[in-house]
Amino acid sequence: MKPECHGDQLSSGILPQRQSSKSRNLKAPKQEIADEAILHYLQVSGDADRGFLLLMEKYQERLYWHIRRLVIEHEDANDVLQNCLVKVFRNIQRFEGKSKLYTWLYRIATNEAITYLQKQKKRKTDSIHDEESHLENQLKADSYFDGDQAAIQLQKALTTLPEKQRLVFQLRYFEERPYQEISDMLDTSVGALKASYHHAVKKIEKYVRQSESFLD
């Protein structure tokens, strides 16, 4: 698949389209269909195709970016997302509505991504790379990563964080989720999440302080 460009290049129309994690926010706001309606199509009415399309329209990008930030590389994110969505559609009848639909989806996506990372970590045990340098290498190798120096520094700093702190930081900072939602997703108290987030911020600060280029 040929990579496409985004942002200012996108509006000029000179270069082929490539979508970034932020450009999704630039789209004109669409009337979002309610989760109840999606579930009705998938669970009750028997019009699963419509339900499938609606769920994909609403959540595929959010889930993709959530996974992508965790696993870094696009190809990995694609594999994890597909596995996640297959699980979602094969088990949607079992969803009882005890939690919100997006909470359930994010939980599956997070579990899939973390399982994937742990498998990868296991595979790399014999090599000299630890997880941190492995993720950093992935960042360098990813042809779909094109951040400026500051973005690179931030992503590198993120790879130094423990898994849980990275996840909390990502959900709060990039995905702008309220603590209560994160608490529902990760089944962790709001207090513990705040502590994790603050630790993460301090560690990132310490890391980027050493980099002169950050936000220059």
Partner: protein, 166 residues
């Protein structure tokens, strides 16, 4: 969501973080996705879902090593408990096997007529010899009291009764 973003920036400013500036600047994260990826994803996924779901392998119930150790410890404790209880029951006389002296005394009193005099005598002699506290013994009478008791009895009894007794 905009409100949440403001809260996040405020929170970061409180932490004196350059991340607050970064967030405010709205800079790109740097991640990109191939053009048309999401449209293709829907097609790929649809095809994947139309394939029959792989039959679930019959799961062999595996007990993790940690649980096995726990189970073996629990089993050992259980065996020890059962053996201990059994030993305790065997070695300690039960309540049935060890009636109290008072119960025995009551039984003898209630069934006194069933015992032969010879057997009772033997028993009392044996009791005195072994100095067992078998029957509740009242305080022995003083000599004067005893003499008085005998005198009273003599007065109450006929000569014929005394003869018979001697």
């Amino acid at each position: 969501m905009e409100k949440e973003k403001d809260r996040i920036i405020k929170e970061l400013e409180g932490l004196n973080s350059s991340l607050a500036k970064w967030k405010q600047s709205g800079k790109e994260e740097g991640f990109q996705v191939p053009g048309g990826y999401f449209a293709q994803l829907q097609k790929d996924l649809k095809a994947k879902l139309e394939e029959p779901a792989p039959a679930e392998k019959p799961r062999t119930k595996l007990i993790p090593l940690r649980s096995r150790r726990l189970l073996s410890v629990a089993a050992s404790v259980l065996v020890l408990l059962v053996a201990g209880t059994f030993w305790w029951q065997m070695s300690s006389p039960s309540a049935m096997a060890d009636p109290s002296n008072i119960e025995l005394a009551d039984y003898v009193q209630a069934n006194l007529d069933d015992f032969e005099l010879e057997l009772l005598t033997k028993y009392v002699v044996a009791d005195e010899e072994t100095n067992l506290d078998f029957l509740p013994v009242e305080d022995p009478l003083e000599k004067e009291e005893m003499d008085q008791l005998i005198d009273d009895l003599m007065e109450e009894m006929d000569w014929s009764e005394l003869e018979e007794l001697l």
